[in-house]
Symmetry: C2
Subunit: 309 residues, 2 copies
């Protein structure tokens, strides 16, 4: 038994006018709750420190950069690291990263239980678009504000097992889970900010969005025999609704803990990493069953080619 | 609108003592029903013509070969082709194929509406094992009796769209759907014979097996914006129970038709291939969003390597 008591720390909405300090205070409350629940790892959502700013079209770089963190920890986030260290809790959260070279990424980090950053992930599957799109109900400008991640999908030895990260839209892509699965991942941490309506199809509302959210995380978990911890920023943010639906999924694909609100809410599950073993050794024993000689176009071809037959 | 009225022709159990002729008669009844329902395409399960013989350990090649078809159509199967042609229905079904060279495959075919075979698939992800395994509750010797398929995952222009095939355990592997998705697949036909209990884990029963069955087909459909038609051979076959759960899944990942029995049963849905378009053009527009530079190990590495970080 390799036990990790995981807290999924869903956040309610962050309004545009909320300061980082005010948001971090809410995160500290969740960290204290997690400590009371015996958590050893707490996962916060994507872009935890700000509103989901890619819903607005901006041109001035200084206006854009106000949503980014130039250092981590920084003055506003240092209390998070201090509190986590105090409680002996490892944490993971997402934020907009501005590198010393002036590059912009949608990033998440993982710390050890002493508050040291031990892993970093930069979002690879950026959804949306890069120019103002008048055909949409609202904008989704991640391709404008972020570069695609340049760190691959790293899997890190931590918490007695192998821990991976991805962010939001990454969870819809089976390649995300498989690249980590091939590195023996046992727990995937991911945060998301998912609009409750499809900006390109008004009839696709929260019920559909929650269905897809669960479907992709449950199948990713099952097909790679890994825990998945998916954590939302939820609720009505600056007038735009985001789904909740934070959940912890076991390596059999089953939901074992789920949020019931669209506000700050901690979900907790006592995860045994050894539950990954059975699937990895039998039905998803990759070395016995995968047939890479037939997978070639997955990595040689980006888009659809109809000449396949 | 590109309409295909699909019939999923679930079969109840085929006992060891049932002749091919008797089984084909049941298939003809389902074909007639499908004709009454206006079907233009009917999908039968994996190994439709026989019992699921890989549950028995056999050593004598002549004993093994009795379960294989040396020609298709053959004398016993010609009536299927004739009836399909009469009804102007395209059909797909699975069988054990013995090639003129003496090679053995777990195969499925697709005909056009005139009864001509226009596509062939040979199962790539063979589950199970190749030698008698005393630790299992029952045997699953597909790796003994079949060679891994050598035809890739072909996608064929048919029924006004792009049709792909896979078989049983293939459906658990996201690579299966993706290789077809990259060829623009719009409808995936697949049959299965899935034991109601995991031979290596007695606590994994029919409820779990049906859950996984739905999970992988629904996610494969959604993540590739394709219809999926999954058809079982079901019920208690020679004393061994097989799950039913035949279903038609739309490109949004939703189940639109589902079998309710474990016997011969036709499920029907009027599928519009144009429903695939929205997903393929937006969230799963592969050429805009896939990042193959980070997928390398999916095709370069068969099993798990822990040195990923």
């Amino acid at each position: 038994m390799r036990k990790v008591v995981v807290g999924g720390a869903q956040l309610g909405p962050n309004q545009k006018t909320d300061s980082r300090a005010r948001i971090v205070e809410r995160m500290l409350v969740l960290l204290d709750q997690a400590n009371s629940s015996g958590c050893t790892l707490v996962v916060f959502p994507e872009l935890a420190l700000t509103t989901f700013f890619p819903r607005w079209f901006m041109e001035k770089q200084s206006e854009i950069d106000q949503w980014f963190e130039a250092s981590m920890p920084g003055p506003d986030t240092q209390p998070l690291f201090d509190r986590a260290r105090l409680h002996n809790i490892a944490i993971s959260f997402g934020y907009a990263e501005l590198t010393p070279d002036g590059l912009h990424y949608n990033t998440s980090i993982l710390t050890d239980q002493q508050g040291n950053i031990i892993a970093r992930y930069r979002k690879i599957h950026l959804p949306g678009h890069s120019e103002f799109d008048s055909s949409r109900d609202f904008q989704h400008l991640e391709k404008r504000y972020f570069l695609p991640g340049d760190l691959g999908f790293p899997v890190t030895q931590a918490m007695g097992g192998r821990i991976g990260m991805c962010i939001c839209n990454d969870r819809r892509w089976p390649e995300t889970y498989r690249v980590m699965g091939l590195q023996g991942v046992e727990m995937i941490l991911l945060g998301y900010n998912t609009p409750s309506f499809n900006s390109q199809k008004v009839t696709e509302g929260p019920e559909d969005r929650l269905f897809h959210n669960a479907l992709v995380m449950q199948s990713g978990a099952y097909q790679n025999s890994s825990w998945v911890v998916g954590v939302a920023k939820a609720g009505i943010e600056d007038g735009f609704p985001l789904i909740g639906g934070s959940m912890i999924v076991n390596p059999d694909g089953r939901i074992v803990a789920a949020a019931t609100t669209e506000d700050d809410e901690l979900i907790v599950h006592d995860c045994d990493l050894d539950e990954c073993n059975f699937g990895k050794e039998t039905i998803f024993n990759f070395s016995r069953h995968r047939r890479i000689e037939h997978y070639g176009i997955i990595t040689s071809q980006v888009g659809v080619l109809n000449g396949g037959d």
